[in-house]
């Protein structure tokens, strides 16, 4: 009775069951096996299952014959109709009364469907991973402490391997959270938030990014983490900045031109009335006025060309010391009014340099005016100092403008040269340092900013003594 039951079970089991002898010949097979793999009698298992002429490597049945243990393996079988099926195969020894292994039972379960689903899941995962990695924007996933728990390839490339670091440190080089923080807001209300930021990549490059955040929820709807996606919109902002810059410039030029035209008109009036009245002194005065204002128009146009990127520096040799003294004369009065003393630190042996004197003057006036502003807003103390310095080396001239004003944090330092970045909360246009940087670049020089909050700022401008390389042909007059 028991025998009959085992045989019945063997026959109807929803798996492929076979009994193999030591030669791996199939000596018994159940109904399902016979149906899908056909006649088995006298044939080898590898012949039936894999259509091979020799035993398979790593054959679990052979191993069971060897070590008497159960073995499992995933295999691909080919049915009699040619269809491939994925199977999970287990082998187990059959022993005689003396305990010797006389045969091995092999049970193979069809896992083709599971395999298919597994493959689809894997593909789907890979697709999402690929999308996450390759999407042309920065993606991070952050926890409640704003720590980055995952970042896509583009983010890692531009900001470094930063998993575990707080977002504000990596993105903004700040030591404290941003206010407001879109990720925090999403954690609080579960909504999508958008903001625009200026971030700094690990190479120091600045970019304007549009940041969007969205919640990632767990099975019970609780917010587990927040995904932050940032798109680089620097090219759009640059264009916008250029247009705004153009607007400001046009407004400023318009005001300047009106004044210049009035002065020119005045010069013409004096020339004409001087001739009519036969008054040479008035005529001379008028003509000088005309000449002076034509020169001012010329300067204005040349300055404007810096904005338009068209202007090459008008190189000439001049003493480095003279430009610092000139700038000192320009800013001293303005500084004194607000209780700031301007000091000079001039190396009399600095010598001459080949540069555009007007551009260098504008650059230094701009830096000095920034220094005045930095002192003016510093209410910690009264009686600030600004130093204008110059020194020379055989190949270069180094100008320095330093102050003991309010100073800048790392974020402000990094953004200082960006167009339209201003830390002067409404008082600044954000043009000054951008143009200064541009003047330095046009001279193939270097500008360096050192600053610490509440300590002050030092800007060092190093210009090649003999001017930019492409224009080095201009030789120093003897």
């Amino acid at each position: 009775m028991m025998d009959l039951n085992y045989k019945q079970f063997f026959e109807v089991m929803p798996a492929y069951l076979t009994i193999l002898d030591r030669d791996l010949r199939v000596i018994q097979a159940n109904q399902r096996f016979r149906k899908d793999f056909g006649d088995f009698e006298g044939r080898y298992c590898y012949e039936i299952n894999r259509h091979r002429t020799e035993p398979c490597q790593n054959c679990p049945a052979a191993r069971t014959f060897q070590d008497g243990l159960r073995h499992g393996i995933e295999e691909q079988f080919k049915k009699v109709n040619g269809q491939e099926v994925a199977l999970i195969v287990y082998t187990t020894p059959i022993r005689n009364e003396a305990g010797e292994i006389t045969a091995v039972m092999k049970m193979a379960t069809d896992i083709t469907e599971i395999k298919l689903l597994q493959n689809q899941l894997q593909e789907s995962r890979e697709r999402y991973r690929h999308l996450f990695e390759e999407v042309p924007c920065y993606i991070t996933i952050q926890d409640r402490d704003l720590r980055i728990v995952e970042a896509n390839r583009r983010f890692r490339e531009d900001f470094g391997e930063v998993v575990g670091s707080p977002c504000y440190q990596v993105y903004m080089h700040r030591s404290e959270e941003c206010v407001p923080c879109a990720v925090k807001e999403t954690f609080q209300d579960g909504q999508v938030h958008q903001t625009e930021e200026v971030v700094t990549a690990r190479g120091g490059e600045q970019m304007n990014v549009l940041v969007s955040t969205a919640p990632i929820r767990g099975a019970e709807g609780q917010i587990k983490s927040v995904i932050e996606m940032s798109t680089d919109i620097s090219p759009i902002r640059r264009l916008q900045s250029q247009l705004t810059s153009l607007g400001l410039v046009i407004s400023s030029i318009s005001h300047g031109i009106k004044g210049l035209l009035t002065s020119l008109d005045g010069g013409i009036y004096l020339v004409n009335s001087g001739m009519e009245k036969n008054n040479p002194a008035r005529l001379k005065q008028g003509w000088e006025m005309v000449e002076r204002n034509i020169a001012r128009i010329r300067t204005m146009v040349l300055d404007l060309l810096y904005y338009a990127k068209d202007r090459e520096p008008a190189l000439q040799w001049f003493p480095a010391q003279s430009v610092v003294e000139e700038v000192y004369g320009v800013v001293r009065g303005k500084a004194k009014e607000v209780g700031i003393e301007v000091l000079t630190d001039i190396d009399p042996m600095a010598g001459d340099l080949s540069a555009d004197p007007k551009a260098v003057r504008s650059l230094l006036v701009n830096l000095a005016e920034n220094a005045i502003d930095a002192c003016r807003v510093d209410k910690r103390k009264s009686g600030h100092e600004i130093r204008l310095g110059v020194r020379g080396s055989p190949d270069s001239i180094e100008f320095q403008v330093s102050d003991d004003g309010i100073g800048m944090d790392q974020e402000t330092r990094e953004k200082a040269f960006s167009l339209f970045f201003s830390s002067k909360t409404g008082d600044g246009t954000g043009l000054g340092l951008f143009i200064s940087n541009k003047i330095v670049q046009a001279h193939q020089g270097k500008i360096q900013l050192e600053s610490e909050p509440n300590k002050g700022t030092r800007v060092t401008v190093k210009l090649p003594r003999r001017g930019p390389m492409s224009r080095a042909a201009s030789s120093k007059p003897s």
């Binding site: 407004s251 318009s254 005001h255 300047g256 031109i257 009106k258 004044g259 035209l261 009035t262 002065s263 020119l264 008109d265 005045g266 010069g267 009036y269 004096l270 009335s273 008035r282 005065q285 006025m289 002076r292 204002n293």
Partner: protein, 128 residues
């Protein structure tokens, strides 16, 4: 012989002061000069003018500040003021919209039209 009318020209541009001074001097006016609001106040107190031409954008005390102060002054608020400026027309609308101060007697944009400024000054300084 009637005394010459005194015009105070307030402008930070020396060339413009010279120009207006010559133009008005040629028409028989006496001119006083000031390069900003501070100097203008000193002139007004030392030598009260019959009319002031006033620039807006000046580095020290601006024209707006000076204008507000003189129009609030009980003794000098009757001196006619012509604003002569390169600042956009919006400033004229702004000044007219401020109820704290009366609108200026004249508002001319730079570059000024000679006939226009002379006609306006003659009208405003004419004895009624």
């Amino acid at each position: 012989m009637a005394s010459r009318k005194k015009i105070l020209i307030v402008d930070d541009e020396e060339d413009i002061r010279t120009y207006l001074s010559s133009l008005l001097g040629d028409q028989g006016f006496e001119t006083l000069l000031a390069k900003d609001g501070e100097e203008a106040w000193k002139q007004v107190e030392a030598n009260p003018p019959d009319l002031i031409t006033l620039d807006i954008s000046m580095p020290e005390k601006s024209g707006i500040k000076f204008y507000r102060e003189i129009k609030a002054h009980e003794r000098w608020n009757t001196i006619p003021v012509i604003i002569v400026t390169g600042v956009s027309e919006d400033m004229r609308k702004f000044l007219s919209s401020r109820h704290q101060v009366p609108p200026p007697e004249g508002y001319l944009s730079k570059p000024v039209n000679r006939e226009e400024i002379l006609t306006l000054i003659q009208k405003l300084t004419a004895v009624p």
